[in-house]
Symmetry: C2
Subunit: 478 residues, 2 copies
Amino acid sequence: MAYPKLPSRTENFSEWYNQVVLRAELADYAPVRGCMVVRPYGWALWENIQQALDRRFKATGHQNAAFPLLIPLSFFEREKEHVEGFSPELAIVTHGGGKKLEEPLAIRPTSETIIGYMWSKWIRSYRDLPQLLNQWGNVVRWELRTKLFLRTLEFYWQEGHTAHATREEAEEETMRMLRIYEDFAVNEAAIPVIPGRKSESEKFAGAVTTYTIEAMMGDTKALQAGTSHFLGQNFAKAFDITFLDRDNQLKHVWTTSWGLSTRFIGAIIMVHGDDQGLVLPPRLAPIQLVIVPIWRNDEQRSQVMEAAQKVQALLQPTYRVHLDDRDHVTPGFKFNDWELRGVPVRVEIGPRDVAQGAVTLARRDIPGKPGKQTVALEALPQVVGPLLDEIHANMLRKATEFRDAHIYEPETYDEFREVIGRGWAYVWWCGSPECEARIKEETKATNRVIPLDQPGGEGRCIYCGAPAKVKAIFAKAY
Amino acid sequence: MAYPKLPSRTENFSEWYNQVVLRAELADYAPVRGCMVVRPYGWALWENIQQALDRRFKATGHQNAAFPLLIPLSFFEREKEHVEGFSPELAIVTHGGGKKLEEPLAIRPTSETIIGYMWSKWIRSYRDLPQLLNQWGNVVRWELRTKLFLRTLEFYWQEGHTAHATREEAEEETMRMLRIYEDFAVNEAAIPVIPGRKSESEKFAGAVTTYTIEAMMGDTKALQAGTSHFLGQNFAKAFDITFLDRDNQLKHVWTTSWGLSTRFIGAIIMVHGDDQGLVLPPRLAPIQLVIVPIWRNDEQRSQVMEAAQKVQALLQPTYRVHLDDRDHVTPGFKFNDWELRGVPVRVEIGPRDVAQGAVTLARRDIPGKPGKQTVALEALPQVVGPLLDEIHANMLRKATEFRDAHIYEPETYDEFREVIGRGWAYVWWCGSPECEARIKEETKATNRVIPLDQPGGEGRCIYCGAPAKVKAIFAKAY
């Protein structure tokens, strides 16, 4: 049985992506347009993402809670920019229990409004602050163009919401969470990201400032992989969230919100994947090592399977291991199958390995012979940990090199137009929304991020030539 | 500052319950009728429930997945009993993205239909079976009378869904999951339950057989704490889920589903709580030990706080510990506060304890002096584990004794009427739905469970006097 090939990434990146998601059984299309089913392999990846983030949130004092799915429509109208940003995307419940509702309800597209409402009840004094909340859940936004994981009507995410007594504290929180996303992306997902600020045109509806971690996909498009918003007192004023401060004055709180969604799975696929399929970062991979036993006859089978089970028992307590004991497919089929699914390390055990008391390890990140090594059984537990770390480091290095090789610094708008389409343009920008709008219209590139890390000095805006104090990254984006 | 008292359980159980939920900050009312906000303390309890169950599901080969929130309305019409059971409770989305939808969508009340639809795409051969799936998520049912945790429009749960090649396998799975719920209730929540079958009138809409674990609350009402359904081929036929078996015949699969929800938190509150508030089972309690430092002056304060932090550091790696270092409330207030919140063990540290190198442990399950002991600091880590186990065992014993003391075996219908209202009636029942319906009409008691464990032999139906082969439990219920 020949293993069906994927479309190549260079020929058709979009179709390669869809096929990888479907064939690796990460997700499938649901019967409702634009909705997805996250299948067990995809959900196990999301659970590992959840754990890696949740650990970080709790270590910084946040607590999880659950706010309702259904929000009175009128809540959205209280914050002007928020209603403009979200109204076109709302899913509306008009009937319940066989009756028409007096007030229609929206399925939450995000929870600032409902949490703001509850805070106005809960917060009385400075002693009730800060509120450091997070919620893992589903939200719905009625998107027109959808793509599995990247943009679906319903998606899964975490949304952090915090309220503080001072502006400074809220700004610190916004930045702390941005850095946590950066740390997560780099150290768990092996994805290099550029932390920075969004322009006024690109920020979240209702935010004072939006920060993002921006990542480059394998086709050089940009993807906003996580966002952290300083909301100022916008929602505090809209929902009248006040507190009695130490100085006995009644004040509005300062709030933040920050989110990372199942879209991040799309980033993992597009940053690391190759023409054979997924390449999953070892710290998040649902299966870190897959054991593939190889035999030709029944005698070999029993020896090999015995050794395979021993290896499984050896690694199981520390690593996520799967033994592929399927009888109806060949080892070659299994190799392809687990490569498609992006398992970081394949453990091959054949009769010769058994005779030598060894196994062969094959790395997913380095295809073919250069990624293979033979390891004695007793050395295995010591070898695997460092090997997974090395794979992580190598994936991060490759992704960083690829990204850096595709960030250009065009000096003229002509050069700018030329580099957009094969990478990012890192350019001086005067700060005007008009220049951004024109660039978008003429090149489809948007202002992705104003990196926190700035060169300093001054230049001339890539579009209008006016004096410019910041450099920004423009790119086509998901 | 006097600590406000709760209503007593004997005077007004319902109001006691509401006050406990609100004041212990487990949950609050949402702005939409019948919806709730689960606050951090309540959600932490739910997370511990989730972990205890998820561990058991994964150990028995189940995988988590996520199916969409929105289901085409027409899906419900495919299974006759299912549509009758759920139609009156659906929340309907009619508009999305500012437009009227061609087909209205229901917010899932449960996911048999959408999972059935996906299985009909995924399952081809016996090699694709069994499918052992579980989903953690939210569902919406438009209930008329609601109560925090016990019955809310939106609630949180897990719903397991499995598909099998044979009837026997599906029946085994149904029973396996029922036993897992029983094990969880007894060994994690210290709640004794009676596993058994639901009558035809009380079963899940679409099931062939529904099994339940039934628990007695502190007011002697019954609560269905978890259910496991054998669905036969009902959904397989409605959604045409077929597979090619080993014998080359195309067959319909056999399915099961099983669920446990945030309602279980209501059971924990009502089974264990007392007039001081919550009494949380130690294995699920968000905080297992709370350290309360006691001092009168600044000199004492620094000594006591140092000791308190040492104790915290000592216990933190193994237990969920909280140090209550609030300065603006008295130790007495804190005692009341943590009793209300049901923390299993209070660790008191005063100047005398510091001088002795000891702490005082106070048990929540045994109020006052009999529940107190002084323990030397160095012995603490050895004492706490067994103490928490003893608290668990004591809570389970107390709940079992209370329940057993309130299960009656009336011999006549007059006796039956008399015992209903102060407990459960364990009686012979002829099996006819008519007798059940009459009993319900006349006494408000429903057939809660036909226990798996039957006495054998024969008796006479408590209502009609006809020969009866099974004994069932009738009770008023939540």
